[in-house]
């Protein structure tokens, strides 16, 4: 019964909900709340899936009891014992597969990103011209701006970008990149990236990765708007997104982000809808409930018969102390 419920949750929240959330229009107006919802949902589904596998090994209420007993320091719960029977082995195998692939892709993804950043930092150190705190200019004709997080973070401008941007646009661009660095957006993107690498077939994780990437750009734009007008920021985006011309032939390739850029720009020129507080609050509640589900799934059955169990096991302790905890 509980296994079916948990599996239904994983299917609904891991497959159906992400498609709905990715289409929702409100995410563009509240990028931080939306990114938070994606992250919370991803963690929630991962933990509920782990729970479902754990249920194969031992019933949910036992699991909850064990959890509570461990929290209370009642000692190692007696319910946990060596597996016997195929379903228990299957549960343990699934758990170790999930934990193993999450940890190993976490290692691989983090190491690759760190290595690439280190290489870029080394190149920048030898090739770039420092221009102000944390800003480096690269002598290259193609207009481009990017930031390399880590080690304090560096914002890189090419000579081509300096040539096409007006001073006000430059302020807007720098504010956008600083927002990436100060908001630690590279860390935020890391979690869905790890999960999408570990479980590439899970729609929630792959959609979370592309959506969180899009949403951090919008969040950085919002922060940049404190220092620049929307028109200036739009102009800066247009100048840097301009297709390669004969003057500076394309060094890279086109990316499949054209639509995202179009939406990003149109969002800046469209008047904001008035914030409907009630709607935002309800979305916040949805996110919170996702976060609470796995915890509740463990805790609820346990709480129901917590009193009897814990007092049985810890007869040496005065019951008042147990109650207070």
């Amino acid at each position: 019964m509980s296994l079916a419920l948990l599996a239904a949750y994983v299917t609904a929240v891991g497959v159906l909900f992400p498609r709905r959330l990715a289409r929702a229009a409100w995410t563009s107006h509240a990028p931080r709340l939306a990114a938070g919802t994606w992250l919370v949902t991803a963690v929630s589904v991962l933990s509920v899936a782990l729970l479902a596998a754990a249920v194969l090994v031992t019933p949910l209420h036992t699991l909850g009891d064990a959890f509570v007993l461990l929290l209370q320091g009642c000692g190692w719960p007696p319910q946990l014992r060596a597996p016997s029977g195929p379903s228990e082995y299957a549960g343990l195998a699934i758990i170790s597969w999930m934990v193993g692939s999450t940890v190993s892709s976490g290692y691989v993804v983090c190491r690759a990103a760190r290595r690439e950043r280190r290489r870029h930092r080394c190149d920048l150190h030898l090739l770039g011209e420092p221009a102000g705190t944390g800003v480096v200019v690269l002598d290259h004709p193609q207009p481009s701006v990017f930031c390399v997080p880590g080690d304090g973070g560096h914002i890189v401008l090419t000579r081509g970008a300096l040539d096409v941007l007006s001073p006000a646009e430059l302020v807007a661009v720098l504010a956008h990149e600083r927002a990436h660095l100060s908001g630690r957006h590279h860390v935020i993107v890391l979690l869905p990236a790890i999960l999408a690498t570990a479980f590439p077939r899970m729609p929630l994780f792959t959609l979370a990765l592309s959506e969180v990437r899009r949403l951090v750009e919008l969040a950085a734009d919002d922060k940049a708007l404190r220092r620049a007008t929307p028109a200036t920021l739009v102009q800066a985006v247009l100048r840097l997104a301009a297709p390669a011309s004969a003057q500076h032939p394309a060094t890279g390739m086109f990316h499949a982000t054209g639509t995202a850029t179009t939406e990003r720009v149109l969002r800046l020129v469209t008047p904001r809808p008035r914030r409907a507080r009630l709607a935002m609050l309800s979305r916040l509640l949805v996110a919170v409930s996702f976060a609470a589900t796995p915890l509740a799934a463990v805790a609820l059955p346990a709480v129901t018969d917590l009193a009897s169990h814990c007092t049985e096991i810890t007869t040496s302790r005065p019951p008042a102390e147990v109650d207070r905890r």
Binding site: A25, L126, S144, V156, H176, M253, F254
Partner: protein, 134 residues
Amino acid sequence: MERLGDLEAEVMDQLWAARGPVSVRGVRDALQSTRPLAYTTVMTVMDRLFHKGWLVRDRVGRSYQYRPALSRGEYTARMMRDVLSTTDDRGLALLHFVDTMAPAEYEALQEALRWHRSRPPRAAEPPCVEGETS
């Protein structure tokens, strides 16, 4: 104690500015004008740059003559190719301000912006807005 990394950048600047191969002594003498440097320090830095692939060296007599493996422009072009090329990890190592758009998409975006600007500011709805779905 000076950080070796800063010295690396200065040594590369010297070698890129030089016309031909330079010995460790030559680089040290050029840098000496700004501050005193031990011969071994400069040698260590240049050896490191050689092992990192930034310098190539030829043995001339009892010492090495160094020159840059690539010109500054070639290195910069290589780095930019690296930065702008598509890989699956994009967005993890670096965060770009915006990617270059395809010409057709860029045209369409400019068209949409012209349409936006031509409208009176009070007309509220954008051209293609989805209904709130959640």
